[in-house]
């Protein structure tokens, strides 16, 4: 179903349908994450991918145009790039261990340590939160700063910050 949705996104010319289909795609991948027991990731995917980004894309559509423009150049070179990249990625997965194998690096390296230590050191049941906020506190701080920077970027590009400055102090938006 994921593949079917992705194909229909490529096929459809009406951008409204494309936005809705990408929301469906996010929701389906959220289901996939739930099946893989990654509930936190699924939660994020459902909220951000299916929720917010669909709304923002609709907002963008309202500002731009409703239908796709027909491409003027030939799509041969992009197709080639996509095929080559896809082939390389598939080739990369050949080296990956089988799904769910116990002796993979992901299962052996530090994850077991976290699972064992976090009830004593952090004392909260959700290990994901413990890792996210405490063991990997710096990373999460970086993520927050990235989100903040993204917000500032959008505001500077199309937001009200610049407009207010041009209007002077009295210009209330």
């Amino acid at each position: 179903m994921l593949i079917a949705t992705a194909l229909s996104v490529v096929q459809t010319k009406r951008l409204f349908a494309v936005v809705m289909l990408s929301g469906v795609f996010s929701l389906l991948s959220a289901l996939l994450f739930v099946m893989l027991d990654a509930v936190d990731v699924a939660f994020t995917e459902a909220a951000v991918g299916a929720g917010i980004s669909t709304v923002l894309m609709l907002g963008t559509l309202a500002l731009t145009s409703r239908t796709e423009r027909t491409p003027t150049r030939s799509s041969l070179i992009p197709l080639l790039v996509v095929v080559v990249t896809g082939a390389v990625l598939v080739y990369g997965t050949m080296d990956m261990p089988n799904f769910g194998l116990a002796d993979t690096p992901a299962n052996n390296h530090i994850a077991a340590e976290f699972l064992k230590q976090s009830p004593h050191e952090i004392g909260i049941p959700n290990v994901v939160t413990a890792i996210l906020a405490s063991y990997r506190g710096y990373d999460t701080l970086g993520e927050v700063v990235v989100v903040f920077t993204a917000g500032i970027g959008v505001l500077l590009l199309i937001g009200q910050l610049g407009r207010r400055r041009r209007k002077g102090k009295g210009g209330k938006v």
């Binding site: 939660f43 909220a47 309202a62």
Partner: protein, 145 residues
């Protein structure tokens, strides 16, 4: 959207529970899936839904842009400030064990504060981005969809 009575009533019913759910996800993130990122997005969604149905003007009356911009920075400051507090308490940066006598409790407080910062920043940024998009005059009218 002025004519859609059902949409307006349903939205009014939904906004409260959505915010409540966001707060639940925020503060219950220690025990169940969720945390600042998800809660921030859900909290922002409540405002965005309100804005879509009732218009940008009304939602900006409730949650004015200047406040949104302040909150964007405030969240990041809460996060970074938690680290600085633990620095002052003779621990390394972002070591929450410093925040209480018992290290486990300190971790609890620290994670709480940090997740709060994450939630504030994420929700404010999402709302700010929505405002930025919605504040421009749309080129499509409602009928063209």
């Amino acid at each position: 959207m002025r004519h859609h009575l059902i949409l307006r009533v349903i939205t009014k019913l939904l906004v409260g529970p959505i915010m409540l759910f966001a707060l639940y996800v925020q503060f219950h993130g220690d025990f169940s899936p969720g945390g600042g990122f998800q809660a921030g997005v859900i909290f922002a969604v409540a405002f965005i839904l309100y804005g879509i149905v009732f218009g940008l003007h009304k939602v900006q009356h409730v949650f004015p842009p200047w406040l949104v911009h302040k909150m964007m920075a405030l969240g990041a400051l809460i996060y970074a400030g938690t680290g600085v507090v633990s620095l002052f308490l003779n621990h390394t940066y972002l070591d929450y064990s410093a925040l209480a006598h018992h290290p486990e409790h300190g971790q609890h407080y620290g994670i709480f504060a940090v997740e709060l910062g994450v939630g504030v920043t994420v929700s404010a940024v999402m709302v700010a981005i929505y405002y930025a998009f919605a504040a421009r005059p749309p080129r499509l009218s409602d009928e063209e969809w």
